[in-house]
Amino acid sequence: MVEFALGHAWLVPLLPAMAFAIIVFLTRPLPKLSSSISVLAMASSFVLAAAIAYGVFTNPHFIEEPLVYSLRWFGMEEFTVKVGVMLDPTSAMMLFMVSLVATLIQIYSTGYMEGDPQYSVFFSYMSLFAASMLGLVISSNLLQMFVMWELVGLCSYLLIGFYTFKISAREAAKKAFMTTRIGDFGMLLGLLFLQILFGTLDLTELAQRVPNYEQLGISIGLLTLIAILVFIGPIGKSGQFPLHVWLPDAMEGPTPVSALIHAATMVVAGVYLVGRTLFLFAEVPGAMEVVAFTGAFTALFAATIAITQREIKRILAYSTVSQLGYMMLALGVGSLSASMFHLWTHAFFKALMFLAAGSVLHALHDKADVWKMGGLIKKMPITGWTFVIGGLAIAGIPPFAGFWSKDEILAVTLQYANHGHGFGYVLFFMAAFTAFLTAFYMWRMIFLAFFGQEKPENHPHESPLNMTFPLMVLAGFATVGGLVGTPWANLWGEWIHFGQPHHGEPAYGLMLLSVVIAVAGIGLAYMLYLKDEEKQRAKQLAEKYQAIYNLSYNKYYIDELYQWFTRKVVDAGAKVLYWFDIYFVDGVVNGLAKFTRVSGQGFRYFQTGKMQTYALFFFLGLLVITVVLAFGDSTSAGIMGGVKS
């Protein structure tokens, strides 16, 4: 089984892709069959992925010696592009996580999407989404990765805009597509540079060639530029500042889509890509600093927005942006294992919380404002308690999964600072403060929605088993999923690393600090939103610091800023270009046509219809030729037909 799985890893993305094709072409009119095919394909992928993970884990293939199967895709003379499968601990872990989360989300969707007229279509898109993400994960080559990357973008577009009758959904889909496209453009430029300068996009070959960039006559400045260009792609895809604006809007899609986008597919693609190309970033400290700062800033920035949002999914969305910032920060300080560890734990608790939020919305008929919920835990115990587990995990309470990964990120950031990067302390402080805010806003939401007084106008009910079952599984992973990477037995760090595995002594002080931070955040949320039942204190605070509150509630007006920018600057630029296009580009073409027409109109008067006029021209021509031949020099005679005396 394991041998088969290792040799047939390409089946992992292919199975859901086949499910997509089967649903689209054959079983679309049969919703139940479609969803069964989709879930079955996904579950088979998961089984394969689990076997692959086991295989890679037992016969250690490290990042330096991955298992690669590749074949020639296309090429011209010396330029060849290969397509292939690359298995190493990172991709094996990702395959396992993505296929597991996707399977659970699809099971959940069978309940959540029940009765939707587009039920089959939804499952086909979800299958394709998972397939493209899995394809991205196993890519051995950056071009192949880019193709999958765009497919992921396409699927997110289709799914965010799934409710095509909603204008907001269509707008959100467009926004997601265009914002990430800005990133993709930068990334494509970066990839082109890599191909031109290093002659390959194959990950293993690049990893060998990039460290010798000086011998290839490439300056460090150019390499930094390339790294930053490549990084622009992940900025867009992983919702980093300033291209984060699409991610909170992406919740316009059905909730399982949000869960899939925010946990396992779209947004982690960016983190994964940076992880995959870390050999490039590692060569240029400048680019690493950019990554680290972008990550830390995004984490803090999104957290400050999340503390005042009212819609349950919007809070979760900003928390995703924030957590992705953590992952980028970890990459920026050079720790692949910490980043991937957080990606792993985050996938479980974020998928859990999104699905639980979906369950709540399902029960409350899409009422999303947390202030209008309350006491839900009594009516929906499974949803409520699994959500609480997710909240504990993201807040960083041991032994839940998020604690270990967040602690490791804090640890590596501190270590980075201690190694002479003075601003590393700034990064550390930002990360620690973000942790506090995270605990606060998460528990604000939990206290408001699940505890406190029940609202009499709500009549919630617990969701069916096919929706609660994935919640329970994910809650299990959110609880124990972090134990693979404790500081005492850091299997994770042994397995997934870049360069030498990281062997740090357990930093008890730091662990204590992060627990204190988390408890303080939860405590503050408790004081403000639960203890004071009427929630007066929170209101008073909001009124007292109206300006700050508004700034945060309105997401720092970034959207408005973009709005203004596109309305004024882009539109003005477009007007100039439009003018240029109409009057210059079109002018040249139309001018040529006009010239032809006018000259034709002039010449047609030579056509008198009288034979004698034509004969006259004929004789005149003859006369000219005769004169030239008789008296002209040899060149003109040559032109006239090569007659030479």
């Binding site: 047609r604 056509q607 008198t608 219809g609 009288k610 034979m611 004698q612 004969a615 006259l616 004789f619």
Partner: protein
């Protein structure tokens, strides 16, 4: 060839005939006159052919044979041309070429 004749007389005659014919073909209003002018030009060519044959290759008859061909073709052509002129005359009651601008823009 003891005579004082030399080719330039023939060529001069031919050129003059040709020029007269060309002038007539272009300037005459009457279609019949134009056909006659064309005959003049053809005659000019025939004179050239025969004369040059006489001076260059007196033993062969290439020019003369060509001239016979030209006369034959010209006869046929004029027959055709006259037929067209007559057809037009029947339709329009005119042989004035200025009236025949059917192919005008």
């Amino acid at each position: 060839m003891g005579t004082g004749l030399n080719p330039s007389y023939f060529i001069g005659l031919s050129a003059a005939l040709f020029a007269i014919g060309a002038f007539g073909a272009i300037s005459k209003k009457n279609a019949i006159a134009v056909l006659i002018s064309i005959e003049l030009m053809l005659s000019a060519v025939n004179i050239n052919l025969v004369a040059i044959n006489k001076f260059l290759t007196p033993e062969a008859f290439i020019g003369q044979i060509f001239a016979i061909f030209v006369i034959t073709v010209a006869a046929a052509e004029v027959g055709l041309g006259l037929a067209i002129v007559i057809a037009i005359f029947r339709n329009r009651h005119s042989v004035n070429l200025d009236d025949f601008d059917l192919m005008k823009w």
